[in-house]
Amino acid sequence: MDTSHLVKMANQIAEFFASGMEREAAIAATTAHLRNFWEPRMRREIIAYAKNGGAELSDVARAAVIALG
């Protein structure tokens, strides 16, 4: 899958939750969203990317993805 596309989507999700919640709650909400709506191969790829540094992921998105894995 196109990783840059996945990164963009994960950042958008994190951005929504981060705007209305404390950091920890936003991370948990983002993780839950990814678990509920992303097919496993999408999750696997974004987790691999985050574990490799995940440079383009926002802070909340990265933490949420790591929590997924």
Binding site: M9, S19, G20, E39
Partner: protein, 941 residues
């Protein structure tokens, strides 16, 4: 002419709860106060002759055929305009009355073709029926001056007007005014010179007429007649079914002669439409028997090969073998399916069942992905149910109506007519749209506020409205305290009162003057009953789900939920987009919007389906395309969708489809997607099958077969064949059994059955033990999820921004006579009204670029470019351009990008940065005359 089996009681029902008893011809009759004497008599089976009265229109009192006598009162009052009164004694018969009626009738008949056998309405012409009813046997007046030689106006593609047969009863004029709200017709001139005509003695084709057909239905004679009736003769029987076009879901009587459809007449007892319809549903059904229909299954190994016609069994076996091969080679998750919003609930249910049970994964999605998936996410998150909160009739009790990102007069015309009537009665209107849609100003309707925002700024505007409401003390704190999560409300309140959300702060980004946002917010908050109606202009954005949540916030903070007249209501694009979602078309949800990860839920399905289910969510449509390009997804079964044309960034979709090894297209036409298919399975139109559709108000209505499927099978049967060939048996003998299975597995559908639908006509879900007759208004007393959730909806500008290279914003929409990508409507006479898609551009932007109206222009975005003709108009604001997407050659989706809604991946169709330049690259497209000629040939004119 009304439907052949309609019983016409003469005047509309009165709304009063109070009952009145009177005597008619010696019979005691009790009816609601306000009922006309004519209707009271008809209810007691006493028919009073009439011509200008009909049940769908307010009484007018012009023909004087319906006179009666009332004991103790003078004269002969018209029974259609005289209400009942307690204790009165009415006489509908008697020598005087009958003599007077005959005189009236004689005058009518003296200027009308006499021979009932010549009448095209057969035995259904009310004039001839009334002549017989009043006992008119001979004419005393010599034939003198008359209108019998006036020319027929047949300029409308679907009906003609013969003035010689017009009796000037005004029923058509009133239908156009009262029912449709277009005000296209008049009785022009006085006395003998009077004539019914569109506009100022124009022809239909040149007038304001939108071809809804209400006048044709109201006409008591054969003056206004469907051309199909003139060609094929009057119908002999009628079958009640549901329109296959938009999410209004109008109920129709399909009238047949033998086994041929003669005409479609909107059903007077249909609850979504109350006997009204638009041009598509009433007239544009000819595509069902169009010669382009492909009726034989076809296969080919490679998409570069020509198609080979094969038997059903061979096609099905080939498809099944290929799906199995791909799964063996690339894994269980390498295939999936797409359900259709145009097919029935039962058919969508079976396709998702095939994916989950026969393919063994959850890679199923539906076209709602690209339209209303943010509605699903937003309304479910806020209220607990991903559906509109009201029924359509609710708008009759609204005081303030907000229309945002929707264009009801074009997209949902019948609902627009109800809405316009309410506005004429005094409801106020707020339109939030980048374009001056028709509702902003039209005869007898004008928006109090038009918030002409920049595309992509809905959330900023909605937040600013909420800011005004909270900071000006207009919030309904009691409602919020009782009904909503308090901690979330506190956080939201803190966010919304921040100065960055004030109308003044967002004025620049949105382009809407702060004073207008303030005015609109105050009006909405004041209500007392304020309702929001919205469309794809809200959802098809990177912040589509956020905007749905923001609307929910507005409704909650003002307490506009849980009763008639209020609510948050999506106007659904396709006939069954609600239903397809309800029955489990989303990859993460089983029927009734329940997540696949729930082991208890899966166990219930596993027990009935007899297979183990995958607990992980599947791929959504855009993810399927991405996965196809990386090689992990290689097979797709597509029922009734044209993803190659309707999905964004056509080049990307085409590349993804080309990369797949087995694409099965199951459709009525060889659509654009079929270019990439290996198997084509002929589909059946809505006229050829049994099933149900669920409209935008959650209303489940029956679809009834009126003709045999042309290719031999209804779509649900084909899915069963495919599933059986895949080794997962599906045995149903009728769609009612499929609905029974849905009801068994879905709490919100538990009370739904074909028997109940036949008995009640339709039901709105939830329909179960608590609500056996269905649920009209949702969230009464408390939200489905318990407390309402008010989430912070920060405005985040889309990444799709203008730049010096792409300085304009493109947004898209549709027009009345065409439907989506036009597969159906382009194969009807509707094509005569919309020969091509045009690009609307503001005069200022056009002048800067040297573009004149009608010039060919090149429209370029970061994703691609296409060539269209320009339409220079002030309907769009400077900086914004707009087009429809009904014709494949205009390729609007060649230029749309892959940006999508953060929560659902719904594509951002409504904002694309573009440049528009005059071009010499004139495409080889036919001239208007050639298009008309080709269209006429196609429709066999």
């Amino acid at each position: 002419m009304q439907s052949i089996d309609d019983k016409d009681l003469g005047t509309p029902a009165a709304k009063s709860d109070q009952q009145v008893t009177l005597e008619i011809d010696g019979r005691e009759v009790t009816v609601p106060a306000g009922t006309s004497i004519m209707r009271a008599a008809a209810l007691a089976d006493l028919q009073i002759p009439r011509l200008c009265a009909t049940e769908s229109l307010e009484p007018f009192g012009s023909c004087r055929l319906c006179i009666v006598q009332i004991e103790g009162r003078n004269g002969f009052p018209a029974s259609c305009t005289t209400p009942v009164a307690a204790g009165i004694k009415v006489r509908t018969r008697g020598e005087r009355i009958e003599g007077l009626r005959r005189n009236v009738m004689e005058l009518y008949m003296s200027d009308h073709p006499l021979d009932p056998f010549e009448c095209k309405a057969g035995g259904k012409c009310e004039l001839h029926q009334m002549a017989a009813a009043v006992g008119l046997e001979r004419m005393r007046y010599p034939s003198g001056q008359n209108h019998l030689d006036l020319p027929v106006d047949d300029t409308n593609p679907y009906f003609s007007f013969d003035p010689a047969r017009c009796i000037l009863c005004s029923r058509c004029v009133r239908a156009c005014d009262e029912v449709q709200g277009t005000f296209a017709l008049t009785i022009d001139g006085r006395g003998f010179a009077s004539l019914m005509s569109p506009g100022q003695r124009q022809q239909y084709a040149d007038s304001e007429c939108v071809s809804c057909g209400a006048c044709v239905q109201a006409c008591p004679t054969d003056a206004l007649m469907e051309k199909t009736v003139l060609e094929r003769g009057m119908a002999e029987r009628a079958v009640i079914t549901t329109c296959g076009y938009c999410g209004v879901g109008c109920s129709f009587k399909a009238e047949l002669r033998g086994d041929k459809v003669v005409r479609m007449v909107p059903n007077r007892n249909g609850l979504p439409n109350h006997g009204h319809s638009c041009v598509k549903g009433r007239f544009a059904w000819g595509y069902a028997t169009h010669p382009d229909r492909v009726l034989k299954p076809m296969i080919r190994k490679r998409i570069s090969d020509p198609w080979t016609e094969v038997s059903w069994q061979e096609a099905i076996n080939y498809a099944a073998a290929e799906f199995k091969r791909v799964q063996n080679q690339y894994g269980r998750g390498a295939v999936g399916g797409i359900t259709s919003s145009r097919c029935t609930n039962e058919e969508a249910y079976l396709v998702q069942k095939l994916v989950r049970a026969a393919f063994g994964n959850n890679n199923v999605d539906t076209c709602a992905r690209v339209c209303h998936s943010p509605t699903g996410y937003g309304l479910k998150t806020a209220f607990g149910t991903p559906a509109g909160t009201q029924d359509f009739d609710s708008v009759n009790q609204s005081d303030v109506i907000v229309v945002i990102g929707a264009n009801p007069t074009e997209g949902h015309p019948v609902f627009a007519s109800i809405m316009k009537r309410r506005i004429r009665e005094g409801a106020r209107l707020i339109v939030i749209d980048p374009r001056a849609i028709e509702l902003v100003r039209m005869p007898h309707v004008a928006a109090d506020y038009h918030l002409q925002l920049q595309p992509g700024t809905n959330v900023a505007v909605l937040n600013a409205m909420a800011h005004v409401i909270v900071t000006e003390g207009l919030a309904n704190e009691r409602f919020v305290a009782e009904r909503c999560e308090s901690a979330e409300y506190a956080a939201w309140k803190k966010f919304i009162v921040d100065a960055r959300n004030s109308p003044e702060a967002v004025e620049r980004a949105t382009g809407v003057p702060a004073a207008i946002i303030r005015g609109a917010a105050r009006l909405y908050a004041r209500g007392p009953n304020s309702a929001i109606y919205y469309g794809l202009g809200v959802t098809e954005h990177s912040q589509g789900s956020t905007a749905v949540l923001a609307m929910a916030n507005l409704a909650m903070v003002t307490g506009n939920l849980g009763r008639p007249g209020v609510g948050v209501n999506p106007l659904r694009g396709q006939n069954n987009v609600q239903g397809a979602n309800d029955v489990g078309s989303f990859p993460h949800e089983l029927t009734g919007y329940r997540h696949v990860s729930d082991p208890k839920l899966r166990a219930e399905f596993e027990a009935v389906w007899g297979v183990k289910l995958d607990p992980e969510p599947g791929l959504r449509i855009p993810n399927m395309f991405d996965a196809a390009l990386d090689g992990s997804f290689r097979g797709l079964y597509i029922e009734g969708e044209d993803v190659a044309q309707s999905d964004p960034n056509t080049h990307h979709v085409a590349a993804a489809l080309e990369a797949m090894e087995i694409v099965v297209v199951h459709d009525i036409f060889l659509n654009e997607t079929a270019k990439y298919a290996h198997v084509f399975l002929p589909g059946s139109s809505f006229l050829e099958k049994n099933g149900t559709f669920t409209n935008a108000e959650r209303r489940i209505s029956r679809v009834r077969k009126v003709m045999e499927p042309l290719a031999g099978y209804e779509d649900w049967q084909v899915t069963c064949l495919l599933s059986n060939a895949l080794g997962y048996p599906m045995e149903y003998s009728h769609p009612s059994e499929i609905m029974d299975e849905i009801a068994r597995l879905t709490p919100t559908f538990a009370g739904v059955s074909y028997e109940k639908l036949d008995r009640l006509g339709s039901v709105q879900w939830p329909c179960n033990d608590e609500a056996p007759a269905g649920t009209t208004v949702m969230h009464v007393g408390q939200f489905v999820r318990g407390k309402g959730r008010m989430l912070v909806t920060e405005y985040v500008p889309t990444d799709e921004r203008t730049s010096p290279r792409y300085p304009l914003l493109l947004t898209t929409g549709r027009i009345l006579t065409q439907y989506n990508v036009g597969t159906q409507t382009r194969r009807t006479r509707n094509v005569l009204w919309h020969l091509e898609d045009r690009l609307e551009i503001h005069p200022h932007d056009a002048e800067q670029r040297g573009i004149r109206d009608g010039d060919w222009i090149e429209l370029t975005s970061r994703a691609g470019s296409t060539v269209l003709r320009a339409l220079v108009t002030e309907r769009v604001a400077p900086g914004v351009v707009y087009t429809t997407f009904h014709h494949p050659e205009s390729g609007a989706n060649v230029v749309t990008t892959e940006n999508s809604d953060w929560a659902t991946n719904c594509p951002e169709y409504k904002v694309t940065a573009v440049q528009v330049m005059p071009t010499r690259r004139i495409p080889e497209r036919p001239t208007a005359e050639q298009i008309i000629r080709a269209a006429e040939q196609q429709i066999g004119k």
